[in-house]
Amino acid sequence: MTLDWTRLVRGAALLAWAGFFDWLWLSGRAGDYVGPKTAWVVPFGGIVLTITALLYLRGTRAHEPARGPSARELVGLLALLAPLLLVAAAPSSSLGALAVERKRSSGDQRAAINRLDRTADLTLYDIAVANSSTEYAAERDVRDGVKVTIDGLVSKESDGESFEFSRFLASCCAADAMPYSIRVEPSPDAPPLELSEWLEVTGTLQSTDAGFVVVAEEIRAIERPSNPYGV
């Protein structure tokens, strides 16, 4: 009996991906990469890949000497693991201010939030869409004086009066995540803000020429939520 090294190396690559999916699932980090509606892909991928890897590795013992992996195959397997290596090198990566800038488009963002479950409280998405749709503003009661508590990330630093506050909404994964942005007027005693920093802002809506602005009463830094691409 000898080991089929090619099968062993391939099985190890499968196991690495299975381990990554399982880690995303069990650690609750799946939300960093996939949207809420397709989060099922992660446990599905974890279970299927784990079973596949274990079944595949069962056949590692060979009856006769088998040729080891070629150089090309080894490099190909390493390329297959490239996303895992990059995530391991930068485990706390997330879409931030640069992604808001790159993914910003002048399109209508109403349709994507129509499929969200409605909550009684207004979200950043509601305020952003209300800025371009008076009909939506009326439907969701987005008006002057309404008190809101919203979370998001700083996507543009203050211009002296207000800073841009954004949140992504994804249907499938971070690749199709669209940014929703509003302006926030910080309170005078607000701490200095950093780009891509996650905050929770409590304040009151105020209508301006440029749309609704949140006049902040309280701003506090928070950890990035487990679902940064949806509610």
Binding site: V34, V41, A71, L78, L86, V87, G96, C173
Partner: protein
């Protein structure tokens, strides 16, 4: 035996095939370039120009020059590194050193951060290992390319230098990334998240498609395929296209299934029709399109997407067949099946599954990397911020769909946000994306060859443009 191996018997034994002549000129040139690069900030960096070259900064100069010194040693002594690899390494080392020196130019001169020289030294060692690996095989990279193009290439075994290079590369990425805090670099962060997200979303479907492909291979009898293959082409092609409705996976999963169908005797044109139709006609995609467009021409959009998708798949399959699709799968895709006679069906399914998964997976990863790079570097408004005619708008959105590489089960929510584009252009986005995008282009090229990709583009682009403009004319 060269003079080199005579003087160094142990080293010579290990590296005998590689030892050559000294190249003092090359070593001097690399050293001189290194000195020039290290001292250059005194000319172009404002903070450095205030002070001239000084022995007080010898430590800084030495640490920054160290990678050039290693490169000069390898290139010039006993021919340890080939000239072409030295030429490839030199711009990398120069660019990174300049960037690192620029980063220090805004602060008071002191000892340079040790990271760039250490990183560059590791990079030089990685390149050297790859160089040694290639020279142990084909002799040089140009020779390897010539052999491959002439069909003389054989699969090279793994060598110790290659293993060491790959190990160093992994260590550099993991350790260097963690210590260097690359997750605070916005471009790296954005690229990594989008890259990983496309891979996480796509790979389970690739696995599902590979599993279906394996099940078809092992459990479906030859007789079933013979019956399908005997059908006339004008029935086979649309029939297989309609079968795509039963395949609830995105485009990555349909490629291995189509490949398996063709290998089992289905006409290649029919296999292609199935492959193109499945990502558009499957119920999950049509449902998500309905949800995205609800309240705004949902029925029109779903019907148009399904209709144009079916027409596109059928027409493409028939045209591909007419163009001589008989040899569509001359590229075996490097599948090495590891099953033996008498082994169980489960193992055979696993073998086929893994072969398809590994073959397809790396091209999905490559496509994901390209799509992530595009999204990181190119603002979306370059495509979506331009108000144009319906035809040009459709072409723009098709180009955008190609670059974004979105899953067909979610692209409707992106398409509907393009309100400045008419309905026909949005339809073009929804039909073209699942048929041809960056990752699919790589996958098709690996499976069917680049000629197929070119033919597919030539056929599908006019059909999608024409079909979407027809819908625009009727509904607009």
């Amino acid at each position: 035996m060269t003079a080199a191996t005579a003087r160094h018997p142990v080293l010579g034994t290990a590296l005998r095939p590689l030892l050559g002549d000294d190249r003092p000129g090359l070593a001097l040139a690399v050293s001189a370039i290194g000195i020039a690069v290290v001292l250059s900030p005194h000319w172009w960096a404002e903070a450095w120009s205030l002070s001239g070259v000084s022995v007080d900064y010898l430590g800084l100069y030495a640490s920054a020059w160290a990678p050039f010194g290693l490169l000069a040693l390898l290139a010039g002594w006993r021919g340890l590194m080939s000239p072409w690899m030295t030429a490839a390494a030199l711009p990398i080392v120069t660019a990174v050193t300049l960037r690192a020196l620029e980063a220090t130019s805004g602060v008071a001169l002191g000892l340079a951060d040790a990271a760039p020289p250490v990183v560059l030294t590791v990079i030089v060692l990685i390149l050297w290992g790859i160089d040694v690996h290639i020279r142990l095989g084909s002799g040089s990279l140009p020779d390897a390319w010539r052999d491959r193009r002439a069909g003389r290439a054989t699969e090279a075994p793994v060598t110790v230098p290659l293993l060491l290079s790959l190990g160093l590369l992994v260590a550099l990425v993991l350790v260097g990334g963690r210590l260097g805090g690359v997750d605070s670099v916005a471009e790296f962060e954005t690229f990594t998240v989008i890259f990983a997200s496309i891979a996480v979303e796509a790979l389970p479907f690739v696995l599902l498609g590979a599993l279906m492909s394996g099940l078809i291979e092992v459990f479906v009898s030859d007789r079933a395929f013979e019956r399908v293959a005997r059908l006339p082409l004008r029935l086979q092609v649309p029939g297989l296209a309609l079968c795509g409705m039963a395949m609830p996976v995105c485009e990555c999963g349909s490629v291995p299934v189509a490949r398996r169908l063709i290998l089992r005797g289905v006409h290649p044109g029919a296999g292609v029709a199935f492959m193109l139709a499945a990502p558009i006609l499957n119920p999950v995609v049509l449902f998500s399109t309905w949800v995205a467009y609800s309240g705004q021409d949902a029925l029109l959009m779903v019907g148009a997407r399904a209709g144009l998708g079916l027409a596109l798949a059928t027409a493409t399959g028939l045209l591909i067949a007419r163009m001589g699709a008989g040899r569509l799968l001359t590229r075996s895709g490097g599948h090495a099946h590891h099953h033996h006679h008498g082994e169980g069906r489960v193992r055979r399914v696993m073998d086929h599954l893994s072969a398809d998964f590994f073959f397809m997976g790396k091209f999905v990863i490559a496509g994901a990397a390209l799509a992530a790079a595009m999204q990181t570097l190119v603002p979306a408004d370059v495509f979506t911020g331009v108000l144009t005619t319906p035809l040009v708008g459709a072409a723009l959105l098709m180009a955008f769909a190609f670059l974004l590489s979105l899953c067909s089960e979610a692209d409707a929510f992106v398409a509907i946000s393009f309100v400045q584009f008419p309905i026909g252009a949005q339809l073009a986005f929804l039909v073209f994306g699942p048929v041809l995008d960056i990752k699919l282009a790589l996958l098709y090229a690996a499976t069917f060859g680049w000629a197929f990709v070119a033919r597919l583009a030539v056929i599908t682009i006019p059909i999608v443009l024409g079909g979407s403009m027809l819908v625009q004319a009727v509904a607009g």
